[in-house]
Amino acid sequence: MALDKVGIAKRIAQELRDGWYVNLGIGIPTLVANFVSEDITVEFQSENGILGMGPFPFDGEEDADLINAGKQTVTLQPGASIFDSATSFAMIRGQHVQLTVLGAMEVSQNGDIANWKIPGRMVKGMGGAMDLVASAENIIVAMMHTNKKGESKLLADCSLPLTGVACVTRIITNLAALEIKDRAFHLLERAPGVSVEEIKAATEGKLIIPDNVPEMKID
């Protein structure tokens, strides 16, 4: 069975390592914070100026002055700090953040990503995504394997305006976990109950399938 959004978030949470600072994008990536292993310590960076972001506040304790990059009310963890936007992107551009997780409309086998514009139809802007993808060493894309029309989002080349070039290192979709290297998607794991054939059918770009493709372990 393909993963739902929560399942994708749970699988991404397995990629976190002790001592990492992590920036989570809007949407599925935000959910990752709920599934961090108790064995590790990570801190979440929000590009509007927070390090050590905590969960949503209890009802009635929201503070209009304390929001995340998705404009949601949040809280601070002990040891948190606040800073301006220039310092926030100094952290990002200066590679002090170990992992960036973000959504995408398209990813190419070269690691290009498109997620900010559909010409003539939608232009919300890139926000901090272009800085994040141009800077981070370790970028995981969280997305559905196909779009609403059933078309693959893992392409030979992106058709939409790019957010960044040759930057995505890993993709976790509802169907699979994949690594990008040598201009190809390398299949790492299948979602529970999903066959290699299904993944192959849903992937337009070059897909490298090893002999053994284990099934994800999701709690």
């Binding site: 949503f56 002055d65 890139m126 901090g128």
Partner: protein, 234 residues
């Protein structure tokens, strides 16, 4: 005694804001926006503005109020979702829009205030953002040259301020406010609480008063929350 920057109110603070000017406005979403000055500029009916602001407000609040009345000619922003009127004006071509990566926007404002005319950044390389810009490789990685931004007026919102113009922001309402304060030819600060000089600890000031030309205590802050997300106790 420190140099006194106090003006009476938003009306006095925005004196000199004229049609066709370039403004910087602090805030991220609706968090930390200069509500009083925005309302005042709606009243003043000043037009053809170029507004540099990370976002463009929502339909009926923040910069959305100026957009409704078509007072804005051009927006320079990083993210403009959450605003139908904005999208309509942009897609119809009524509104010019220059979209900039958020980190480049922040750094370009800081550069404008810091006398750095241009700098290299990796953000946007290989994308539309890089079109027409100089590309240069550093440490084996391509970067693009970005230029400083300045404004006729920078309008920021702080939590506390003193008569000398020193500002302290609260939590994530800090965001773009400090860099924009640096980059305005004239910088207006509206604050929730205005205190006498000597009241704030010099070691805790976020924006030194030298960057602020006019300061006043704002009134009736709505501080609207865009996405009220909560969890239940127990």
């Amino acid at each position: 005694m420190a140099i006194n920057k106090v003006v009476a109110n938003a009306q006095e603070a925005t004196k000199g804001v004229e049609n066709g000017m370039t403004l910087m406005l602090g805030g991220f979403g609706l968090c930390g926006i200069p509500e009083n000055c925005i309302s005042e500029m709606v009243k003043m009916n000043v037009n053809d503005l170029t507004c540099i602001s990370n976002n463009a407000g929502v339909d009926d609040f923040g910069l959305g109020l100026l957009l409704q009345k078509k007072q804005i000619k051009k927006m320079i922003s990083s993210y403009v979702g959450e605003n139908d009127e904005f999208e309509r004006q942009m897609l119809s071509g009524e509104l010019e829009v220059d979209l900039i990566p958020q980190g480049s926007l922040a750094e370009r404002c800081r550069a404008g205030g810091a006398g750095i005319p241009a700098f290299f950044t990796p953000a946007g390389y290989g994308t539309e953002v890089a079109e027409g810009k100089e590309v240069r490789e550093f440490n084996g990685k391509p970067h693009i040259l970005e230029h400083a931004l300045t404004a006729d007026f920078a309008i920021v919102k702080a939590w506390k301020g003193d008569t000398a113009g020193n500002l302290i922001f609260k939590a994530a309402a800090r965001n773009f406010n400090p860099m924009m304060a640096m980059a305005g030819k004239i910088t207006i600060a509206e604050v929730e609480e205005l205190v006498p000089e000597g009241t704030l600890d010099p070691n805790t000031i976020h924006t030194p008063g030298i960057f602020v030309q006019r300061i006043f205590q704002g009134v009736d802050y709505e501080k609207r929350i865009e996405q009220r997300t909560v969890r239940q106790k127990g």
